[in-house]
């Protein structure tokens, strides 16, 4: 039986390698089409991302919120709950975190951090609670409701900012006290000098491992997957489906708030409207590519983080949007190559 796991790993490595080569090829063609030399472009990206601690740090910094949101969403996806509402959920959470950190700064650290995290989590979770309960009570698809909740969340934050909390003529909250800021990695490793990557990166890694443990090693995780696979069977096995769906939605959406640690407490010191830049949607791709396995999500997030930062480094030569194209090509090629590789090994087995 060990053999089968090894085969699985081999299949995954083969399929990812092939997809990356395919992506490289397709991207090169696109770059050629806009009249640039792909080798130059890739050269710049590689030397910028891997050539300096700063570049690497920035890629890790970009990967951090993807790891957090991807892992959080994986919980929902395992329960077959298609939560498209992470964008709204994480914005509200981060927003509330920034306010809590600002207004409760008189609290001692051992109280302040829990309060900030719990409030952020609670608000994001509440934003997931609404679609979850509508689905459970009324059977309305969470896909529709979570999309709508995104719009409402963004409008609500916009309103609150403008009416109450924004620093005059900006779209951001007040800056929090310096002592609350989460230390940057450069404070410990000279190597990352200048980069925004901070301790949240390790929190994200720990979160991914924790979610992995929950999903693959606990009864609760098995319940989540059982409900996701077959609700009827889960019911006959004695699982309380509604409770499991509600809990996975609450935990999944609640955890998205932790991106606030990276951006608000670890980077800017305030919440800024639009900071997330579709993070909630990219995270869906990151999770799906990793087949909702949080350990895999660490890797897909790192890949997307590198592409994201890499795009910025070549911005002067080609539009950075090219990196969205690359991300899309990566998704499509991994999905299709994976299928082909799987089939190949299945027919051989």
């Amino acid at each position: 039986m060990e053999l089968r796991l090894k085969n699985k790993l081999r299949e995954n490595i083969i399929s990812i390698t092939i997809s990356l080569i395919l992506t490289l090829f397709i991207t090169s063609v696109i770059i050629l089409l806009i009249g640039k030399n792909p080798f130059d472009i890739f050269g710049i990206i590689i030397s910028e991302v891997f050539g300096s601690g700063y570049g690497l740090g920035q890629a890790l910094f970009k990967a951090t919120p993807l790891i957090i949101t991807g892992s959080a969403l994986a919980i929902c996806f395992h329960a077959s709950l298609f939560n498209i509402g992470a964008e709204g959920q994480l914005n509200l959470g981060a927003f509330v975190m920034s306010l809590a950190a600002f207004y409760f700064s008189a609290l001692p650290a051992y109280l302040l951090f829990p309060v900030v995290i719990i409030l952020g989590f609670a608000v994001s979770a509440f934003w997931g609670y609404i679609p979850a309960i509508i689905k459970i009570k009324k059977g309305v698809s969470e896909v529709i409701t979570t999309i709508m909740m995104n719009f409402i969340a963004m409008a609500l934050i916009n309103f609150l900012l403008i009416e109450f909390f924004a620093v005059k003529s900006t779209v951001r909250t007040e800056k929090i006290a310096d002592w609350i800021m989460i230390p940057k990695l450069s404070a410990y490793f000279q190597f990352f000098q200048g980069s925004s990557v901070n301790l949240t990166f390790f929190i994200a890694l720990a979160l991914a491992f924790a979610v992995y443990f929950m999903l693959y090693k606990t009864k609760f995780g098995y319940y989540i997957k059982a409900v996701g696979f077959n609700e009827t069977a889960a019911k006959y096995i004695g699982i309380k489906n509604n409770r499991i769906m509600l809990l996975s939605f609450l935990i999944g959406s609640g955890l998205t708030s932790l991106v606030g640690l990276n951006f608000v407490l670890g980077y800017k010191g305030y919440y800024e409207f639009g900071f997330s830049n579709n993070l909630g949607f990219t995270a869906i791709a990151v999770a799906l590519l990793a087949k909702n396995n949080p350990i895999g999500i660490i890797f897909t997030s790192l890949l997307f983080g590198m592409l994201d930062y890499g795009g910025l480094t070549v911005n002067t030569v080609i539009p950075k949007e090219i990196m969205f194209v690359v991300q899309a090509v990566v998704i499509l090629s991994i999905l299709s190559v994976d299928k082909i590789v799987n089939n190949y090994f299945q027919s051989k087995d």
């Binding site: 089968r4 606990t218 319940y223 696979f229 009827t232 006959y236 027919s347």
Partner: protein, 494 residues
């Protein structure tokens, strides 16, 4: 001449040889039964003949001509049809719509409904299928759904028809009807292959029989030289000593579950209509009935999944094991492995390690003789009978007080059936309450202390243990006939 010849067919899954050089000759115009233990490779072999699996090696000849199937589509082109155990019907479509799906006779770009309807009603009449072509499939019972599947094959003019355990889901009367239908097929020149576990059925319909054991074809015989005892021995290799357990009366026959005048509606349909039943500790209560008369709802009621609108329901224990009627839809998470499926129901386990899964699996596998290729394989890759054994094992191992078992031996081979029966009796002897729902009257007669006949949501007649213990064979036949009539709503003079 042979319609089908399978020569030296092999197929492996991982390290397991599911088919190991199998030879099978199916004569033109015959009913050929395939029999063998759970996991012997019967379904695999038939899936190869139907183009679903590709063999590792070996040759398939159809009507003498070598055939190479890349998919079921190729087999269909050679007029081979297969009726799977798990129906593949669109529940929201009518019978007609299901039948023409994928075989549309078109008139320009629209479907030629009239022509199809004519063809289909013609087939229904010809084979006496007693099926309304306009019924919605979701309203049909199991036997009618099976007939719809059959219509699909007939409509495509299949000449070689493979049935994978067609009788497992049927009541005795329906089995009789089904046999008439396939005999008719044979008489008009079709070739029929039937997988079954029941020797009685082999004797009744087979022109030829082939026995598979552990992936090999070990024995073939035709009707004239068929000896059931020899056949039974060939199936298992060696006969296990019969271990018929005796029922012991414990004296303690307290009531465990009390169901009084329960009325239960589902989707606007009355499913239970004044149901009365008392289940005792240390007894097996057998429910006889044609599928769809409320069996599923009784199970759901006891398991606490259904709300009733009136009546009284009391149970002394809520430690209840359940084997649901539909094992794939309700009994298991088919994507999970054997061990995972078992652990899923264990209330004392919260952390699930690889070691725990391996340990649980090996315990269950050896104790219940489950055959599988790989401990980590999803449950759906096990053979049908082995899946059933896993579910049975899980429910017994929970050691609950009340056991609600629907068709516990469905799809299970002879030896395993005997084993399951003896486990049920030993549970009963421990003082447990067993509610046995089965369409197999022999099974109910063998196991039950009391029998209730269920018709249209209520028990229309209950037979006490005294009535059942009259032993002469004629008595049993009279009783069986009586129950058979009650099951289809005919009131009998007492």
């Amino acid at each position: 001449m042979n319609s089908v010849e399978l020569i030296n067919i092999s197929k492996h899954f991982g390290s397991l040889m599911a088919n190991d050089g199998i030879n099978l000759k199916v004569r033109d115009n015959s009913v050929h039964c395939i029999i063998g233990e759970n996991g012997a490779g019967k379904s695999t072999l038939m899936k190869i003949l139907f183009g679903i699996y590709r063999p590792d090696s070996g040759e398939i000849r159809v009507n003498g001509i070598p055939a190479h199937f890349r998919s079921a589509h190729d087999a269909i082109k050679l007029k081979i049809g297969m009726l799977h155990q798990h129906f593949m019907l669109v529940e929201d479509f009518s019978v007609i719509e299901n039948v023409i799906l994928g075989n549309e006779l078109s008139k320009g770009i629209t479907l030629d409904f009239d022509k199809s309807r004519q063809a289909i009603t013609g087939l229904i009449e010809k084979y006496n299928l007693s099926l309304n072509p306009d019924s919605k499939v979701s309203d049909l019972n199991v036997s009618e759904k099976q007939k719809t599947e059959l219509l699909k094959l007939l409509y495509r003019q299949s000449e070689i028809i493979i049935f994978d355990e067609p009788t497992a889901v049927l009541s005795p009367v329906e089995v009789g009807e089904f046999f008439k239908i396939i005999t008719k097929f044979r008489d008009e020149g079709k070739t029929i292959i039937v997988i079954t576990h029941k020797l009685k059925e082999v004797r009744e319909i087979a022109d030829d029989v082939t026995v598979l054991r552990r992936g090999k074809s070990v024995y073939s015989v035709n009707r004239e030289s068929l000896d059931i005892d020899v056949l039974a021995k060939e199936i298992v290799g060696e006969l296990e000593p019969a271990t018929a357990l005796q029922k012991i009366n414990m004296g303690n026959n307290d009531i465990a579950v009390e169901i009084e005048n329960i009325v239960l509606d589902k989707g606007g349909v009355r499913k239970l209509d004044g149901l009365n039943m008392k289940l005792r500790k240390g007894e097996v209560y057998g429910v006889c009935g044609v599928e769809g008369n409320g069996q599923g709802e009784i199970a759901d009621l006891i398991f606490g999944l259904e709300k009733y609108s009136s009546g009284k329901f009391i149970t002394f224990s809520d430690l209840i094991s359940l084997i649901p009627d539909d094992r794939i839809e309700k009994g298991m998470i088919k994507e999970f492995s054997v061990g995972e499926n078992v652990i899923l129901k264990n209330k004392n386990i919260n952390i699930i390690s690889k070691n725990l899964i391996a340990k649980t699996t090996s315990e269950i596998v050896s104790k219940y003789d489950i055959r599988l290729s790989d401990y980590n394989a999803p449950l759906q890759s096990l053979s049908g009978g082995n899946q059933q054994k896993v579910i049975f094992a899980r429910e017994i191992e929970l050691d609950n007080d009340i056991l609600v078992f629907a068709h516990p031996t469905r799809g299970v081979d002879i030896n395993a059936s005997a084993f399951i029966h003896s486990v049920i009796i030993s549970e009963r002897n421990k003082g447990k309450t067993v509610l046995l729902i089965s369409s197999d009257l022999d099974e109910i007669f063998f196991l039950a202390d009391r029998i209730g006949v269920l018709y249209k949501g209520k028990i229309v007649r209950e037979f006490s243990s005294n009535e059942l213990s009259s032993k002469s064979e004629e008595d049993v036949d009279v009783l069986l006939e009586k129950i058979g009539k009650l099951m289809i709503g005919i009131t009998v003079e007492e």
